[in-house]
């Protein structure tokens, strides 16, 4: 009996101890399977297997009009739905050479930052939970709820709000919008230090995060790791700075760069980005210009034949949209370069040689959203 068990546990002849993390595993945050090869508790290598929830969004885009594509992009990175929408809208606006009203730019930027905050809060609480601090999950969600309530008031939905439309917005924002954001800013400014006291300063957390999962700048650039994960390695990749869009050229903000390259550096970048987002919100919320909430667009949008490319900064990195149009009302080919796709595959590089527990910390610090990888 016992020999049988041992033979079953040890796979292959080279005594590789392979465990499958996922597709259903508490810390993969979705249906991702990591084939992890262990030696004792140490990870030798890992192979990500994806595609469990592949929906063929790129293929679906080829049959939909540009307005209809918006609601598909919501479902890629559902935590930065607004940024995804905006990327498609901006491609269409570029191609049609439509100048959107200033008001739209301001509101889009505010919504971007709110969405980024909500996403980072969810990341914070899930990251804490991955490391075993279960209470962070509820504190983060508690504060995120306020943002979602603002979203619900203006868009009618909390997560997948197809609020952008080529040329502008679906509606004007709710009259309470500005007040509620100001309320949220003053509330969250008080709560952010609690985040630091609870997790950032904690000696156990620092031991778990510092020096773990080191990613050099070259690795980050080579694998195309963007967003806070890349900036934790010193890779300056903030599209908001490189190619400002929306109202980002009108506000003062810093690109957060850390040179540590480890889990803690990536954590620090996100925490600092939350503060930065708050300050961007503060600068914008009182200065929304009056005007239309949408530019004049034809009801049926036909992009001139050609190729268009646009990048935005989502909460997880660089989202690039590449459209090939043949002049019809739906795109000939639409490619989304999603940030998580590139961020995932660096894991084998940086997780080799660490413990299982570190693997969890690393995958948490990369902040993966699986539907974004699978599309």
């Amino acid at each position: 009996m016992s020999e049988e068990i041992i033979k079953d546990v040890i796979v292959g002849e080279n005594e590789d101890y392979i465990i499958n993390m996922g597709p259903q595993h508490p810390s993969t945050h979705g249906v991702l399977r990591l084939e992890v090869c262990l030696k004792g508790e140490t990870v030798k290598y890992l192979i990500p297997h994806i595609g469990y929830i592949h929906r063929g969004i790129e293929k679906m885009c080829e049959a939909n009009t540009y307005q209809q594509i918006i609601h598909l992009t919501d479902r890629m990175d559902y935590l930065s739905a607004h940024m995804n929408n905006e990327a498609v809208c901006m491609v269409v606006e570029d191609a049609m050479q439509v100048e959107v009203p200033e008001r739209v730019k301001y509101i889009r930027t505010i919504l971007n930052e709110l969405n980024r905050l909500a996403s980072h809060q969810l990341w914070w609480c899930a990251f804490g939970m991955d490391l075993g601090a279960l209470t962070t999950f509820f504190y983060g969600l508690r504060d995120r709820e306020m943002i979602l309530d603002i979203f619900e008031e203006s868009f009618g939905s909390r997560l997948l709000h197809s609020f952008n439309t080529p040329g502008g917005l679906m509606h004007d924002v709710h009259p309470n919008f500005q007040n509620r954001i100001k309320e949220f800013i003053s509330y969250f400014r008080k709560k952010l230090p609690e985040y630091d006291q609870l997790l950032t300063g904690n000696v156990i957390f620092q031991e778990r995060a510092k020096g773990v999962g080191f990613m050099s700048k070259e690795t980050a650039i080579g694998y195309g790791v963007t967003g806070p994960s890349g900036r934790g390695s010193g890779f300056s990749c903030d599209i908001r700075k490189i190619a400002p869009y929306g109202a980002y050229d009108k506000v003062q903000f810093n690109e957060i760069l850390e040179t540590g390259g480890d889990v803690f550096a990536r954590y620090q970048v996100r925490m600092a980005e939350m503060r930065e987002s708050l300050s961007i919100l503060e600068q914008l919320v009182d200065n929304i210009p009056e005007g239309d909430f949408t530019a004049k667009m034809k009801p049926i949008i036909k992009l001139p034949a050609g190729e268009y490319f646009r990048r935005v900064e989502t909460a997880r990195g660089e989202l690039a949209v590449y459209v090939v149009s043949d002049g019809n009302k739906s795109p000939y080919r639409m490619k989304f370069r999603t940030p998580n796709f590139s961020n995932l595959f660096v894991m084998n590089e940086i997780a080799a040689g660490c413990k299982i527990a570190d693997l969890i910390a690393i995958s948490g610090s990369l902040d993966l959203v699986i539907p974004d990888i699978d599309r």
């Binding site: 570029d94 490189i242 370069r337 590139s342």
Partner: protein
């Protein structure tokens, strides 16, 4: 940051047979499939331009031919170039892999192989990424799936 003309001049000196189509949003280079890898190598290693960041790599099916498209950026100078190579053989399209230059290309190329059926030479692990082995190549324009795709 180099201007478009300067970049065009530098790149046209790197490999023979490169075309620069006019009137595009970004600077585009169309090279023959044979010199695709060597141009990418030179683009990356030339310190004057240093295209070290592969933003995305994809393919487009134009019915008569297929195009592999790479968006490259230099993190140092912040200029971008679109590298394209046309493949006329639809039955058995193949091109060199960029994995040796950009590690990110490994999975972009696996995705292209999965969805378009373009083979990449010298790829370390060319397996399908999302779909089963006997599935068709869904992003090709002649792909038909009567069961799951409803034509409108």
């Amino acid at each position: 940051m180099l201007s478009r003309e300067e970049l065009t001049n530098i790149i046209s000196g790197l490999v023979p047979g490169a075309e620069f189509p006019e009137g595009k949003q970004l600077l585009e280079v169309i090279v023959p499939a044979e010199s695709y890898f060597s141009l990418a190598e030179k683009l990356k290693s030339d310190p004057k331009i240093a295209f070290n960041y592969l933003i995305t790599q994809t393919a487009v099916d134009f019915q008569t031919y297929m195009t592999v498209v790479c968006h490259l950026e230099s993190t140092e100078f912040r200029h971008m170039v679109v590298l394209k190579a046309n493949l006329t053989d639809r039955e058995n399209p193949a091109i060199d892999s960029l994995t040796a230059l950009y590690p990110a290309a490994e999975y972009f190329e696996r995705e292209i192989f999965d969805l378009f059926g373009i083979r990449f030479n010298n790829h370390p692990n060319l397996k399908r990424l999302f779909l089963e082995d006997d599935y068709g190549y869904p992003l090709r324009k002649d792909f038909r799936d009567e069961i799951n795709i409803i034509e409108r």
